[in-house]
Structures are given as C-alpha cells and as structure tokens.
C-alpha cells in the first residue's frame, strides 16, 4: 500500500493527489488512512522513506558496483521509469523539500547515497577525480534521468557518445574503448 502510494505520488506529485484520489486508488478507507498515517503528509513521508529504502538505495548499490562511471550512468538511466525510485526523489526535491524540512532530510540522504555510489563507480585505480566530481556526476545522472522521463532520447545518446570522452570528470571513462 505504501508502495502504491509512492507510485501515485511519483506520477502525480504531492499537491496533485487528493485524499479522495488516495482512497480510490489505494483501496484504503479514509478512516484507516488517518488512523495509520495521521495525515496525507504522514503517508507521503512513509512513501518517500519506502522509496529511498526500496528504490534509491538498491540502485545506488548497483551504481557503486559498476565497472566505471559511464556504466554507472547507464545503469541509472536503465532503471525502470515510474515506480518509486528516482522519480519520486526528483519530484520531492523540487516540490516538497523547499517547504518541508523532513522531506529535505530524506532527499539529502538519497543524494548522499547517490554521491557515495558515483564516487565508488569512478574507482580508485585511475587518476584521482577532482573535488566534487561525485556530486557533479550525481547531478549529471539526475539531469539525464529527468530528460529521459520526458521522453528525450538525447539523454541516452549523451551517455553513449559524449560521456566516455570526458576523462577529466569521469576518470575511469578513459578505460572505455
């Protein structure tokens, strides 16, 4: 049920969902929603935490174990669109984090997990990446993901064509053929 709520919030945003929508789509009684979560925001926070634990963290693990940074980007872009992974994180970061400190903390944790993953994907055996490279790579990952969500095929092309030619930012990309 929290998973379904996460998918609904990821698809329609926080403000785009009414309690009527939640009751209808989740098959949940209004009383149960209030009893269990206290409010719509309570359910949203539970959905966002679920999304971080079940969507973003496993994805970050896969990126961290990628053979190089470019492959890490490919993994991030190939993750299923929709559901409760990066999509809810992206929406939460622009919609709710600026006005809700608890949401901002969860979003920060998700970004930190992705920063650690991209740092790991860049590896340690090539030239040392410049300071902030992991943050820049996470930002690139999220930006490409945003464009992918809107159906822009240029995002995948960018990973395949341009990113391998950026060895100074993506040091391990130098190992790409």
């Amino acid at each position: 049920m929290v998973q379904s709520a996460a998918e609904l919030f990821a698809e329609r945003s926080y403000d785009g969902i009414s309690i009527d929508d939640l009751v209808t789509h989740l098959g949940l009684h209004r009383n149960s929603l209030y009893k269990t979560f206290g409010s719509k925001r309570g359910l949203y926070l539970a959905a966002l935490r679920w999304s971080l634990d079940q969507g973003v963290t496993p994805l970050a693990d896969r990126i961290a174990h990628a053979p190089d940074a470019v492959e890490g980007l490919r993994i991030a872009l190939a993750a299923p669109v929709g559901g409760a992974g990066l999509e809810l994180l992206l929406l939460a970061s622009v919609e709710r984090a600026p006005v809700d400190t608890e949401v901002a903390e969860i979003v920060d944790r998700a970004f930190a997990a992705l920063d650690s993953a991209t740092a790991a994907a860049m590896g340690t055996d090539g030239p040392a990446p410049p300071p902030g490279a992991a943050v820049a790579l996470t930002a690139l990952l999220l930006g490409l993901r945003l464009r992918t969500r809107s159906g822009d095929p240029a995002a995948a092309d960018a990973v395949n064509d341009a990113c391998p030619r950026w060895p100074s930012v993506l040091p391990s990309a130098a190992r790409q053929p």
Partner: protein
C-alpha cells in the same frame, strides 16, 4: 468557521461566529504531542459521519458538533466543504477534528510544521 493557531506546545482551535452556537463549543486546547497531522480534505463531507451527539446537522448546510463513530468521537464544524481540514488526534476526547478554516493550505502547513517529527 474555526481559527487554528499554535501557542507554545499547544494547538488552539477557536470556533467563531454562529458555528460556536451550533457546535456548543467555542475553544479546544490540545497538546501538540497529541496531534498526529492535518490534511485538507473536502471529500470527507461525503463520508458517513456517525451518530450525532449534541450539536447541529442540517444536511448539506451545516455539520457542527460531536459525532460518535467506531473510531471514537469526531468534532465537526463545517458549512463550506471546500475549506475543510482534518486534524487527527491521539489520546484526546476527540479522535479527529473536521473544521472549516479560512485558508486550508496555510492552516495545514502551520499544524504540520508544529507537530513533532514523525
């Protein structure tokens, strides 16, 4: 119409105008630790309200007063469904307050920002 405010660690609900007469109650003071959340919820007026205790219910016009439900007592003060918020409580006489407020969005944000971290 209800006015909702925060004073120190308490939620203050003041029933204004004629609603005070219909609801037979003018002020509720609730510790913030007993407030579980607030939500704008116009659709709740279409839900069954339970058995009416003291108060007034003119269907479609005024719902005001205490209603008994399986979950406990619910306090209503509503004339305009578009401006309804739901405040969920715990360890209080009322399990839920259903109130009409002037600005639902602002009131919900005020309450949600004041209650303890979940």
């Amino acid at each position: 119409m209800a006015r909702v405010s925060i004073e120190a660690d308490q939620l203050i609900v003041e029933i204004e105008g004629l609603g005070k007469l219909w609801a037979l109650k003018s002020r509720l003071v609730i510790p913030l630790a007993h407030v579980r959340g607030a939500t704008a919820d116009p659709g709740i007026v279409k839900e069954p309200k339970g058995l009416r205790s003291p108060g007034t219910h003119f269907p479609g016009v005024i719902t005001s007063g205490t209603y008994r439900t399986k979950e406990g007592q619910v306090f209503w003060d509503v004339r305009d469904a578009a401006k309804v918020i739901v405040i969920e409580l715990t360890d209080e006489r009322y399990t839920r307050l259903v109130l009409q407020v002037a600005d639902p969005r602002t009131t919900v944000a005020l309450v949600e920002a004041a209650i303890p971290t979940r």
